[in-house]
Symmetry: C2
Subunit: 187 residues, 2 copies
DNA sequence: AATTAATGTTTACAAAGTAAACATTTTCCT
DNA sequence: AGGAAAATGTTTACTTTGTAAACATTAATT
């Protein structure tokens, strides 16, 4: 065991990611992260300014994952939407950090803000391709509606996971995301 | 100043509500709440079990407000949706507690869970009235889509508030909620 | 009036974020 | 190579916050 680690920052982010994925951000605390990375409580602060910066790292990592799987879905609305929804259901607590409203002041992290905008711009571009003659306003309206429908759906599906599945019809939606999206928003 | 207060619980919830509305739940801490209510740090614990219960009280209060304004909007989709959206924009941090996904385990508070279900059932009922011949599945699909579109929109509009208003077209949506809703989901 | 329940206060502790001072490596410059 | 400077870890220590426990006072009940 050496005094200097190779990639402690990566290691710390990795550990925090795992805790957050398995248990939620509330359960991420610096001392536990340090212990799991086998360093002292405050080694962290040589690599990141504070806990909020750690949160930002998780958000960045989330966008990396979601973007990686995105490929050329811009012209395949329902596939694009389903991709986001599946991410939200697979990494609910990371998703909260990325798209929830409470916490992180995203404007403090311009690169992350750019990732967010990039995602939304993808939708706008897709809508533009789909309705090339629409006005900017109508494009925006459609894009916002798509975005809202997708992200709003994650909330319902997650809640239905918690409540001992009150309704089978929600299960149908969950298992048929693309079809649901085509029937509703994506047309 | 008497030893026993009349309605300390109400007072404490009120104080917490004000802090949460003005600054976010993160800024609500027991000592500050106690100070503003002019009681000792721990008087609180004679009235509520813990801080989570305080959060639940705010959620309950949020539902009371949102339900009060709801009236007979069940058969007026865009009005109903706009009502929720306006609440979300007026009380963003309360809204997070009510409809966000991170925090409160709502199933620990069956009465709150019931308030939530009541709201969603209102949508289902509205859809049923609107399309009386639709199958249960189709009703559910439409209701979920309405719910998701409304709650998802709050997220975008809130974010656009933060970012020094990147786009005027979002402003249009915000100022014309009903029309936007009619154009998209509510038809 | 005396006992008990309800409600406040004081004291105290533990968890968690992080600053400061100190220690060890590594890097880099001559 | 040798030694200063930068980077990275550790130890200590302080602060904030939630809340438990013991004690005090007022209100309710018999």
């Amino acid at each position: 065991m050496s005094y200097h680690k190779k990639n402690l920052k990566e290691k710390l982010v990795e550990v925090a990611w795992n805790i957050c994925v398995a248990e939620s951000w509330e359960k991420v605390n610096m001392r536990e992260v340090a212990k799991k990375a086998r360093v002292s409580n405050t080694a962290f602060y040589r690599h990141l300014k504070n806990k909020n910066d750690l949160k930002a790292e998780l958000v960045r990592r989330g966008f990396e994952i979601i973007n990686k799987g995105k490929k050329n879905l811009t012209n395949n609305f329902s596939g694009y939407g389903a991709h986001y929804i599946r991410f939200g259901l697979k990494y609910p607590y990371i998703y909260d950090l990325m798209f929830g409203n409470t916490d992180l002041d995203i404007s403090l992290y311009p690169d992350i803000e750019a990732l967010f905008d990039e995602a939304f711009d993808g939708v706008i571009q897709g809508v533009k391709n789909f309705m090339p003659n629409a006005s900017d306003k109508d494009v925006m309206i459609k894009a916002v509606n798509i975005w809202a429908s997708v992200h709003g759906l994650v909330g319902i599906l997650r809640r239905s996971d918690l409540q001992a599945n009150k309704d089978k019809r929600l299960k149908w939606i969950k298992n048929n995301l693309e079809e649901y999206l085509k029937m509703t928003t994506f047309k």
